[in-house]
C-alpha cells in the first residue's frame, strides 16, 4: 500500500499516504484540485514531478503496458453516474471490461464473474444485459463500483462518487462502499465537497485549497478542532439540520475563489482569510504538525502570535466577522 512517504505530487506539492483498509477524505471547494489529485494518483493526468507508490511499486516512471498492468491494483469511481458508463455497452459488458483486459479470461468466465459482482453490489443478475440508461443514478453508481472491484484492487479513488445522488440513495452507496472496504480490506481516497459525508466515511481528512492541501489529520480532530481558518469556514458552512443551533454564527467567506491559473502570492487563502497578516502575502506557510494529529499549513501556526500547533476552535466566534 501507500507508504507514508511523500508519495504524490499533484497540482502543487500535494503529499499524503493511505494505509490498507483506510479511507482518506479529500475535501475542498470546486476547482481546488481534488479531482486532479485523484486522477494523478492513477496517473490519468501527466505528473510533472513527484512519486506515486502503490504497494511499494513506483508508478511514476511506468508507461504503456507496464502502467496498464499496474492499474489493476487501483480503480476509480467517478462523480457522474450518467457519463461514467458507456451508453452503448451493457452492464455486464462494462463490468467485464477489466476482467477481459487484465485476466484475459473467456467471455463466458467474465460474464459469470460479472453476474457475481452485480449481485455483490446489490443489483439483480437479471439486470446484466440492460443498458445504463435503464438505471437510476444510484444503481449506476453500484455498477461503477462493481466494475471497480472486479479485479480485487487494493485501492479505489472515489471522485465525488455520491455527490450526484439523493440523500437516501447516497447513504445506500456509502453503506455499500463501507461494506466492501471491510470485506476486501480496500483503501479509499474519498473525494467529496460534502463535508458531512466525508466525516462519516473517512478515517483521515485532507482539506485542499487552490491546489494545495492546507490541512490534514484524523477526521475527528479536523472536524472538532480545525486548525486552519479555511477548514473552520468550511465546517461552519455545513448546513445544520438542527433548528436549535440556528442562531449560531456562520462564517461566510468573502469573495470568490481566486483563479487557479493566477493564485495569490504567499498563502493562497490569504485573500479571503480574516486573520491574514503581512507575512501571509510574502511566504507560503510550511506544513506543521499539530496537536491531535495531522498537519496544517498556516502562518498562524508558525509565525502567528497566538496559535502554535493548537486548534483554531475557540477563537472563531470572536474573531471572524461575517462578510
Amino acid at each position: 500500500m501507500f507508504k507514508k512517504t511523500r508519495t504524490v505530487e499533484a497540482v502543487k506539492s500535494v503529499s499524503f499516504g493511505i494505509d490498507t483498509g483506510e479511507t482518506l477524505g479529500l475535501v475542498g471547494e470546486s476547482g481546488s484540485g481534488k479531482s486532479t489529485t485523484g486522477r494523478a494518483v492513477l496517473k490519468l493526468v501527466p505528473v510533472a514531478s513527484g512519486d506515486i507508490t502503490v504497494a511499494g511499486q513506483n508508478l511514476t516512471d511506468l508507461n504503456g503496458r507496464a502502467l496498464r498492468r499496474a492499474r489493476r491494483r487501483m480503480q476509480m469511481v467517478f462523480q457522474d453516474p450518467y457519463s461514467s458508463l458507456d451508453p452503448s455497452a451493457t452492464v455486464a459488458a462494462s463490468i467485464s471490461e477489466p476482467l477481459m483486459v487484465h485476466d484475459h479470461v473467456s467471455a463466458r468466465a467474465a460474464r459469470t464473474r460479472a453476474l457475481e459482482l452485480i449481485e455483490l453490489v446489490g443489483l439483480r443478475a437479471s439486470h446484466a444485459d440492460r443498458y445504463p440508461y435503464e438505471f437510476s443514478g444510484g444503481q449506476r453508481q453500484r455498477i461503477a463500483i462493481a466494475r471497480a472491484i472486479a479485479l480485487n484492487p487494493d485501492f479505489i479513488v472515489c471522485d465525488e462518487a455520491v455527490s450526484a445522488l439523493d440523500v437516501s440513495t447516497q447513504n445506500q452507496v456509502i453503506n455499500l462502499l463501507e461494506r466492501l472496504r471491510t470485506e476486501f480490506d480496500l483503501a479509499y481516497l474519498f473525494i467529496a465537497h460534502d463535508l458531512a459525508i466525508v466525516r462519516h466515511i473517512s478515517h483521515r481528512v485532507a482539506v485542499m485549497y487552490l491546489g494545495r492541501i492546507v490541512e490534514s489529520g484524523p477526521a475527528e480532530r479536523v472536524y472538532n478542532e480545525p486548525a486552519h481558518p479555511y477548514t473552520q469556514a468550511l465546517l461552519s458552512a455545513i448546513p445544520n439540520p438542527s433548528p436549535h443551533r440556528r442562531s449560531e454564527r456562520r462564517i461566510v467567506l468573502a469573495g470568490e475563489v481566486p483563479d487557479p491559473a493566477r493564485p495569490p502570492s504567499g498563502c493562497p487563502f490569504r485573500t479571503r482569510c480574516a486573520f491574514a497578516m503581512d507575512i501571509c502575502a510574502e511566504r507560503m506557510p510550511e506544513h506543521t504538525a499539530i496537536d491531535g494529529g495531522g498537519e496544517v499549513a498556516c502562518h498562524l501556526q508558525t509565525s502567528g502570535p497566538e496559535l502554535s500547533g493548537a486548534p483554531l476552535g475557540d477563537l472563531t466566534a470572536a474573531a471572524i466577522r461575517p462578510a
Binding site: 502502467l67 496498464r68 467517478f78 458508463l85 458507456d86 451508453p87 455497452a89 477489466p98
Partner: protein, 298 residues
C-alpha cells in the same frame, strides 16, 4: 376532496430490448422516419430485384416503339430508342444507388478511421488531418469532380471515387468532433483507468459511440451523392451507355422534355423518392439517437 386519478397505464409496454432495439422502437414510433425506412426498403428491394421485376431487359431496343407514353405494354412508356422506361428505372436504380453507396463507402473508409484517429490522438496528427480536410473543403466538390473527369475521362466510378474523397473531408469533420466529445466522456477515462489498451478503447468504446452521428451523416451523404450522380450523368460524364442510371436517364429525357415529358418525370420521381427516403431516415435516426442521448443525460 381531491380525487387523484389512477395513473394512466403507460402507452407503450416496456419491453426488453438492447440499445439498438430501443432505437428501433423510437424510430418505428416516428411516422416520417418509418415511412422513409419503408420507402427505402421498397426501393432497395425493387432495384436490387430488378431482374425479377423488370418486364424487359434495360438495353432492349425497339426503335419502332420509341417515345411511347405509358401503355399496357410499357407502363412508364419508352425512351428515344424504344427501351422500356420501367425496366431502365429499376436497373438504373441499381447503378445510381450503387454509385452513391460507393462514394459514401469511400468517404467512410477514409473519414471514419482518420476522424477517430484525429479526435482521439489529437496533437500533430489532428493538426495535419485538419489541414488536409481544410484543403479538400476548399474545393467546390462538383467543379472539382467535373474537372477531374474532364482530364481522366468519364465513368461513374471515377466520378464517384473523386466525390467520395471530397465527402471524406465532411465525414472526417463530423467523426472527429463526435470523437472529441466521446473522448472526454468519463467512461473513456474510466476505461483508461482500468488499464484498457488504446486499441480496445478505440474499437469498443469510441467506435460504437460515434456510430450515431456516422449513420446520420451517411444517410445525408447518400442523398447528396445520389444528386451528384444525377448531375454528373446529366452532364454526360457519368454512367457509360448503354448502362442506365437515373441521372443518365434524366439527361436523355431532357432532350425529349417537350415531346415526351413523362420521360423526365419518372426518373425525377425516382430520384426524389430515393433522396427523400435517405433524408427521412437520416432525420429519423437523428431524432431517435437524439432522444436516446437526451435521456441518457437525465
Amino acid at each position: 376532496m381531491p380525487r387523484p386519478k389512477k395513473p394512466e397505464e403507460p402507452a407503450v409496454r416496456r419491453r426488453r430490448a438492447g440499445r439498438f432495439g430501443q432505437l428501433a422502437r423510437r424510430f418505428a414510433g416516428n411516422k416520417p422516419a418509418l415511412a422513409g425506412g419503408v420507402l427505402l426498403f421498397v426501393i432497395l428491394v425493387v432495384t436490387m430485384g430488378a431482374p425479377l421485376f423488370a418486364p424487359y431487359t434495360p438495353e432492349q431496343i425497339n426503335i419502332a416503339d420509341r417515345l411511347s407514353g405509358p401503355t399496357p405494354a410499357h407502363w412508364l412508356g419508352t425512351d428515344a430508342l424504344g427501351r422500356d422506361t420501367l425496366s431502365r428505372l429499376l436497373f438504373g436504380g441499381q447503378v445510381s444507388l450503387a454509385a452513391s453507396a460507393l462514394s459514401v463507402a469511400i468517404a467512410t473508409l477514409i473519414g471514419l478511421p482518420l476522424g477517430i484517429l484525429a479526435g482521439y490522438v489529437g496533437r500533430g496528427p489532428d493538426w495535419l488531418l485538419n489541414r488536409a480536410s481544410d484543403i479538400l473543403m476548399t474545393f467546390p466538390a462538383l467543379v472539382l469532380t467535373i474537372a477531374i473527369i474532364a482530364v481522366v475521362g468519364p465513368g461513374l466510378t471515377t466520378a464517384m471515387i473523386s466525390l467520395g474523397i471530397v465527402y471524406s473531408a465532411r465525414l472526417f469533420r463530423v467523426i472527429r468532433s463526435a470523437t472529441l466529445v466521446v473522448r472526454q466522456e468519463v467512461y473513456i477515462e474510466a476505461s483508461i483507468s482500468i488499464g484498457t489498451p488504446g486499441r480496445t478503447i478505440l474499437l469498443r468504446r469510441i467506435l460504437p459511440n460515434v456510430l450515431p452521428p456516422l449513420l446520420i451523416q451517411i444517410s445525408f451523404l447518400l442523398a447528396s451523392a445520389l444528386l451528384a450522380e444525377v448531375t454528373i450523368s446529366l452532364l454526360g460524364l457519368g454512367a457509360l451507355p448503354p448502362t442506365a442510371s437515373w441521372g443518365s436517364m434524366l439527361g436523355q429525357a431532357f432532350a425529349e422534355i417537350r415531346g415526351t415529358p413523362s420521360l423526365a418525370v419518372f426518373p425525377g420521381i425516382a430520384i426524389a423518392l430515393a433522396t427523400l427516403s435517405f433524408n427521412l431516415v437520416g432525420d429519423g435516426l437523428r431524432d431517435s439517437f437524439g432522444r436516446a442521448t437526451r435521456k441518457a443525460e437525465g
